[in-house]
């Protein structure tokens, strides 16, 4: 088992029951009856997030409806030294919201009011449970939208986005959550309300908003987010280009950037993916192509016309075997439909799939894809590759059957090898899904002891008692030591030559 440290001795059942009743008695006065769950049949939907392979039952689940209730819950748990796992919509893919068996799950899902929309200053103030897409929907009539658009945007919450620093298919041009959030109001583990960032361009002191972004619910509980809204482009068009060779496709990506173009979206799918999705969505993909690129341009009609022309030229020079340009919005959405449905299409090919999230420099895309082809043989499992090619963020989907423990084990090993290849190719183990519980061992590969110790220093600065989502994202020294011992082969760590960057 890779996640060997998760196998801890079972705590005494009586002790757990006692702790649960202490917690419930402490929270009862704070919350309405329907907002506190502790019976297993009520708490079971919270045993995992979008990473369903890892599950745990919490002591209880609290569903506060006001910021004041959140603060009181934190104070109560702080006094009882009971850890808290904050949870948004539960769509996270790295197990960041997996419960702690002797802890509370704090769901922010009921804090879902849009507090204020200001078209003049182009900002919206929203509660953490507001869905990502709901923000853009609420401001659409003003010609504005909220730019980051993770694939799960129908369901995922803005509070979750802040904690994962979520991206999306348009972040090459419009940035990540970090670049689109001005201010976060939150509560420290001791119950104190604080504000990170401001509506002004900067704030006094160190830039604490930057460190709270993507902190996976470990530094503060988010209760309010002020987002930046931007003008909706008048038009968007997409080019679909086929390549008969992976390398040519990867080079075309670099060529577009080198030509001084920042496309609104630049996505890549390999042959296995196009075949799988074509069967599912009938988008008219070129099934003979080794790889397909989707390059989107948005802006004013004049701007789009100019950019589409420039991109077409670059793609032709890069040796595209076929080029199609969307002629209307329906066609644009049709071209995108396959990319957006890659995950459900993978779900049709195999009982389970395991989605990876490494990022590598663009120049290494072809190298990594070829290595993954080798790994498919090594582990006897198929893999679909979809990429945010523009920013080198890749989502290999490893297909397996979870009912077969050996297949799951091989899928995990396959995934780990991909992540280690990403680190070796000058990249990172996670571009946008977060470390959570899933990639915690890979953190031992990406970072050295000194860096990991500094991360704990950051954690302790906000939460000295380590009560806020303490078992996620940052591995302990012991965990890494054990992981190292386990992965030693022939007395050497894999990739001893690696810079731990």
């Amino acid at each position: 088992m890779i996640h060997m440290n998760m196998v801890t001795p079972l705590p005494d059942l009586a002790a757990i029951t006692a702790l649960q009743s202490t917690l419930v008695s402490a929270l009862r006065p704070i919350l309405p009856e329907h907002a506190l769950l502790w019976e297993p049949e009520d708490t079971i939907p919270y045993e995992c997030d979008g990473l369903a392979a890892y599950r745990k039952m919490p002591l209880a689940v609290a569903l506060p409806e006001t910021e004041e209730q959140v603060a009181q819950i934190l104070k109560a748990c702080f006094a009882l030294e009971i850890p808290i796992v904050p949870r948004g919509s539960g769509t996270g893919l790295s197990g960041g919201a997996m419960p702690i068996s002797q802890g509370l799950v704090l769901s922010l899902a009921k804090l879902k009011k849009i507090i204020n929309i200001d078209p003049f200053t182009r900002t919206a103030v929203v509660q953490p449970g507001v869905r990502n897409l709901a923000i853009s929907e609420a401001v659409a009539h003003l010609g504005l939208y909220y730019a980051p658009d993770p694939s799960s945007q129908i369901a995922c919450s803005i509070g979750g986005n802040v904690n994962e620093n979520s991206g999306g298919v348009h972040c090459l041009k419009y940035g990540l959550t970090l670049h689109n959030v001005l201010k976060v109001r939150g509560i420290l583990m001791n119950g104190e309300i604080v504000e990170f960032g401001s509506l002004a361009p900067d704030s006094p002191g160190l830039d604490l908003l930057a460190i709270v972004m993507g902190s996976e619910g470990m530094l503060a509980v988010v209760t309010e987010v002020t987002v930046k809204l931007i003008a909706k482009p008048k038009l968007a068009r997409v080019i679909m280009a086929s390549f008969d060779d992976i390398e040519k496709g990867a080079n075309a990506v670099a060529a577009i950037i080198a030509a001084g173009i920042i496309p609104a979206g630049l996505e890549m799918m390999d042959k296995a993916t196009t075949r799988a999705v074509e069967e599912f969505v009938h988008a008219g993909y070129d099934l003979e192509a080794e790889t397909i690129l989707l390059c989107e341009s948005d802006g004013t009609p004049e701007e789009v016309a100019e950019e589409i022309e420039r991109m077409t030229k670059v793609l032709e020079e890069a040796g595209a075997s076929g080029i199609q340009i969307s002629q209307n919005e329906a066609e644009r959405l049709q071209f995108w439909s396959g990319r957006k449905n890659a995950f459900p299409a993978a779900g049709r090919l195999a009982p389970d799939y395991y989605c990876m999230d490494g990022t590598i420099p663009r120049r290494n895309i072809a190298t990594l894809l070829k290595r993954i082809q080798g790994m498919e043989k090594k582990y006897g499992l198929a893999c679909l590759n979809v990429f945010h090619a523009g920013d080198g963020n890749m989502h290999p989907l490893i297909l397996f059957n979870g009912a077969d423990p050996d297949e799951w084990h091989r899928a995990e090993e396959f995934g780990t090898e991909i992540l280690e290849a990403c680190v070796e190719l000058d990249g990172t183990i996670t571009g946008e899904h977060g470390v959570g519980i899933e990639k915690i061992n890979s953190m031992c590969v990406q970072f050295g002891e000194g860096e990991r110790e500094s991360f704990w220093g950051v954690k302790s600065a906000f939460d000295p008692e380590h009560l806020l989502n303490p078992d996620k994202a940052i591995p302990t020294l012991n965990r890494c030591a054990e992981y190292g011992r386990m992965r030693i082969s022939g007395g050497k760590l894999p990739h001893p030559e690696l810079e731990r960057f």
Binding site: D202, P204, A258, N393, V435, E451
Partner: protein, 382 residues
């Protein structure tokens, strides 16, 4: 970096840090020394980064440049220029010798900040020596990276009070295909209203500057940048609102560079008993007035960054902070005249801001996590 020369330099840095920790003193980090007047004054021994210089990696198609802290900023900009790319946040140099590390530590951005984002938005990774002399690397060279806390983005604007920045990777952008600068005479109220309205429309608005003149009126200069077609299409749209003229490209380029470097008269005529205050404000903030302020105020970033010259005394700064904070922003003493007390606190402190008091202890703990002995505790940034 692994050349023997650079590793010898790292050893020297480490030795200086370890010695400072041993003798319980602090080190004031200095690159090109062009911003030494910025931030709280201190008289600690200097740690000079200029010997640790050089571009380590630059591949234009990756949109990332990695360089040593001591690298001259102009060397970096020249390398980018050759490949038709730029540091889109337009860091001010404030002198010939400005360094890459100094620009990051100061965290300042130029006119483009309002459309492309702050300096910290562009930082992707950093290598540092912490207060124990440990060689640590955070972030990386890719745009999307959420492995571990984003420590590299804590460094911009930290003014050397957290650790010694050795190397950084920052995102770069292609130069816009077309740029044009427009100008008109307009009141402050009208300028603020128009700028915010334009910013809410899909227009290629890249920068703005409004400077008041003696007649309670002022001059608004705006820069459009983007696809040639988009820039061309936008000019008549903006002209509808005001009587606008297009500036000669050479004059325009000089204007934006002088604004960034604060070489315009409105900055250079600072009297010896006055201070140049910087106000960082929300977009909604209307015109503000301070007793005894000079008439020629400068508004950048659609009014979100304002430069006001006024008496340098504590009472005026208190008023400035009060006005900024009641509008949801903050004020700092950016530059002081020669006769103003150099010992004055230059910044708004966390304890003076609403909902920030408890962050003061977080900030103290953060600093001691990276620097337990206080080697970098110069208080240049409170």
């Amino acid at each position: 970096m692994s050349s023997p020369q650079s590793s010898a330099q790292l050893d020297l840095f480490r030795e200086q840090i370890i010695n400072a920790a041993k003798y319980k003193t602090s080190l004031s980090i200095e690159g090109g020394g062009t911003k030494s007047w910025y931030g709280n004054a201190n008289h600690f021994e200097k740690l000079h980064t200029s010997a640790y210089s050089g571009i380590l990696e630059y591949q234009p198609e990756e949109l990332v440049i990695t360089a040593c802290a001591g690298t001259p900023l102009k060397e970096i900009e020249a390398a980018l220029d050759e490949k038709n790319q730029v540091l889109a946040f337009e860091p001010p140099h404030f002198g010939h010798n400005a360094s890459f590390g100094g620009a990051i530590a100061a965290g300042l951005a130029g006119p483009g900040r309002i459309s492309v984002g702050n300096l910290r938005d562009f930082v992707l990774g950093a290598r540092i020596l912490d207060g124990k002399g440990q060689d640590l690397s955070f972030g990386g060279k890719v745009m999307k990276n959420v492995a571990g806390y984003d420590v590299s983005r804590l460094l911009p604007g930290s003014m050397g009070t957290l650790s010694l920045l050795l190397e950084a990777s920052v995102k770069v952008l292609p130069k816009p295909a077309a740029t044009t600068t427009l100008r008109c005479q307009i009141s402050q109220v009208r300028a603020l209203k128009l700028l915010n309205e334009w910013a809410g429309q899909p227009l290629p608005l890249s920068a703005s500057c409004w400077i008041s003149n003696a007649n309670d009126d002022g001059e608004l200069t705006i820069r459009l940048a983007g696809a040639a077609a988009a820039v061309k299409a936008a000019i008549p749209l903006m002209g509808v609102a005001v009587n606008i003229i297009e500036l000669d490209p050479k004059i325009a380029k000089e204007f934006w560079s002088n604004l960034r470097e604060q070489n315009l008269t409105a900055f250079t005529n600072l009297e010896t008993d006055k201070t140049l205050y910087r106000l960082s404000l929300p977009a909604a903030c209307g015109p503000i007035s301070i007793p005894n302020m000079s008439y020629d105020i400068v508004l950048e970033w659609h009014g979100q960054q304002r430069w006001i010259k006024a008496p340098g005394d504590e009472a005026t700064f208190a008023t400035m902070k009060e006005i900024a904070s009641s509008n949801g922003g903050h004020a700092s003493r950016f530059k002081q005249g020669a006769d103003v007390d150099p010992a004055y606190q230059r910044f708004t402190q966390l304890s003076e801001q609403a909902h920030s008091q408890s962050l003061e202890i977080v900030q103290t703990r953060l600093r001691s996590a990276f620097d337990p002995a206080g080697v970098f505790a110069t208080s240049r940034l409170p």
